[in-house]
Amino acid sequence: MSQSQPDSRMQVAVATIGAALLLTVLLLISVSSTPYAAVRAFFIGPFSNRFYLGNMLNVFSMLSITGLGMAVAFRAGVFNLGGEGQVYVSALTATVAGIALASLPALLGLPIALLVGVFTGAVIAGLSGLFRHLWDTDELITSFLIASASIPIVDYLIVGPLNDQASNLLTTERVPLAFRLPRLLAPSQLNPTLIIALLLLAAAYVALFRTVRGYEWRLSGLNRQFARYGGIHTGAYIVFPMLVSGALHGLAGGLFVYGTHYATLVGFTAGLGWNGIAVALIAKRHPLGVVPAAAAFAYLESGARIAMLHTDFTFELGTIIRAVIFLFVTASVLPKLGISTRVGRSIRLLFRGGSA
């Protein structure tokens, strides 16, 4: 590779990010009556105090897990379009399990409850993988349909049999106090999920790029025929990645309950699964790429939320800004950022993509 290439890539990356940010500023200035406050709230807000910083980091940790859940599926060449539903259903089962196990010590009860969530997510996603393996039904479509079917069922359970009669929220009862993860930057929602997410990302990187199974996993995704020819059990690498992807979404659901909301509320996942897909794609399906992608996502979302609270910034504006940045970033930066298996390059990516 010649020396000029990374430089020009860098330039393009900086140029695009710069352009996207400039556009955001222009958008804010043009529609806000207090433009300075809006720009400041949007960009500086997330770092302005513990509360916002902690919330942003919490969004980051949740998105990292769902983004990773998508990335590992993509790596094996399977597509999980049902992440949203998987998070939601798993949150509910984890909640129910936690409430049922309230008498157990937290060190036993909490892991079991989370495992129930993991298991739920794995089963729901794994079904699609299994269907593909058995009957060659497109896992992209079945995972979407199964998730879509499960959402009303969860809605019903929350509003109906599992409803917290003492609350006017559409919510289940809250999980036992002892099971709740501690808050790291009170009163923000930040909790040990962040650490779990970072550990998972590192573990996924090692598993995918530094293990034999990871080698087989990636090879199945790159060229299934070749993998089969090489004696790799390719059927397993359809079902298994879907299971893992679902399990990660299930874990996200469980952690969302035990770390953030302490209960399952109707519709509380709010795009966690969908955004996970975007994060995974922007990360170029790479576990280490998930870090800057999820961080950028969390930053934008937090910035928008804070600007909404403090200025006349509206919800739609946040949506528009995110859309515009998506278009920009994906259009010109990312195809130029080739991610290889080499650690060095991945680390470079961290810095390069960090401010995207």
């Binding site: 992209l140 349909l145 809605d155 975007a278 739609e316 949506t319 259009a331």
Partner: protein, 293 residues
């Protein structure tokens, strides 16, 4: 029930057929949802301005077209990731419409504009003596009658014309087009624009049937339209059958709320479950009895 199922089917089918073109040209258009929404909004606005249903539908169609062109420009010309572009366009529609609505009409909510005509029903009251047939054929809103020609036209264009052949070839292997000196991007663009028109038109049907624009009126139908493409094995008639199946399942779920003692919310998952089951049964049957087709 059949009658309503057909009404439900119409927008799904139009969006699905449009999406089919994109799919066959090798572009997964997940922005159908956003295009439908834009179509719905534009349809109400133009219908209100002109007082004409047809103009409203045209407006919806153009709005879909506009987003489709943006999709083409970023996704194809700029070689961006198609999926992210699709998500971005859905976001753009979801953000821009309330923004415009608020700026132009002072509300982000239900947009009830004066002068929006009602979608006329055709062949109202015509009877053949067979109630089932009457339900299928007559009295539907104007837009429904667009669907049958649309299916035929789609089938004809895809199967019988040079354009269709080239479009299908683009999706299968764009290199073959380049080898004979054709530019596959042209066919991708055409396919995307068609999908935009289909989705925009579908959105206009949704809105004009109600006579108002509502936030999120597409309510996931763009995604379902995408499902019908796969479920219909990427053939126009298949999309028709898939859309009808989904509409019937939806109809069952709606009707069952009144009859069964099952909670209504729970029944909302019925269409999806039925669709998955249909998909599996169909795939499994294909496995058992492989045909030569």
């Amino acid at each position: 029930m059949i009658y309503y199922a057909i009404e439900v089917m119409a927008p799904l089918l139009l969006a699905g057929l449009g999406g089919l073109f994109a799919e066959l040209a090798g572009v997964l258009n997940i922005a159908l949802e956003g295009m439908m929404l834009a179509g719905a909004f534009a349809a109400i606005v133009t219908a209100s301005l002109t007082g004409s249903i047809l103009a409203g539908m045209l407006g919806g169609l153009l709005a879909g077209l506009l987003l489709a062109y943006l999709f083409y420009f970023v996704g194809i010309r700029m070689r961006a990731n198609i999926f992210i572009v699709g998500l971005a366009i859905n976001l753009l529609a979801a953000g821009t419409i309330p923004f415009l609505s608020s700026a132009m009409f002072g509300t982000k909510g239900v947009l009830r504009l004066p002068n929006v005509p009602r979608m006329p029903g055709l062949f109202v009251g015509v009877e053949t003596g067979f109630p089932l047939l009457d339900q299928i054929l007559f009295g539907h809103s104007f837009g429904v009658y667009l669907t049958v020609p649309a299916v035929l036209l789609a089938g004809f264009v895809l199967r019988r014309t040079a354009f269709g052949l080239r479009l299908r070839s683009t999706g299968k292997n764009p290199e073959t087009l380049r080898a004979v000196g054709l530019n596959p991007d042209r066919y991708r663009r055409a396919a995307l624009l068609i999908s935009g028109m289909g989705a925009g038109l579908a959105g206009s049907l949704l809105a004009l049937r109600l006579g108002v624009y509502l936030p999120n009126v597409s309510a996931g139908r763009g995604w379902i339209a995408l499902v019908t493409i796969y479920l219909g094995y990427k053939r126009p008639v298949g999309v028709l059958i898939a859309a009808l199946c989904f509409a019937l399942a939806e109809g069952v779920s709606v009707a069952a709320q009144g009859v069964l003692q099952i909670p209504g919310t729970l029944l909302l998952s019925l269409p999806y479950i039925l669709t998955v089951v249909a998909m599996i049964v169909y795939s499994a049957m294909r496995r058992v009895a492989p045909s030569d087709a």
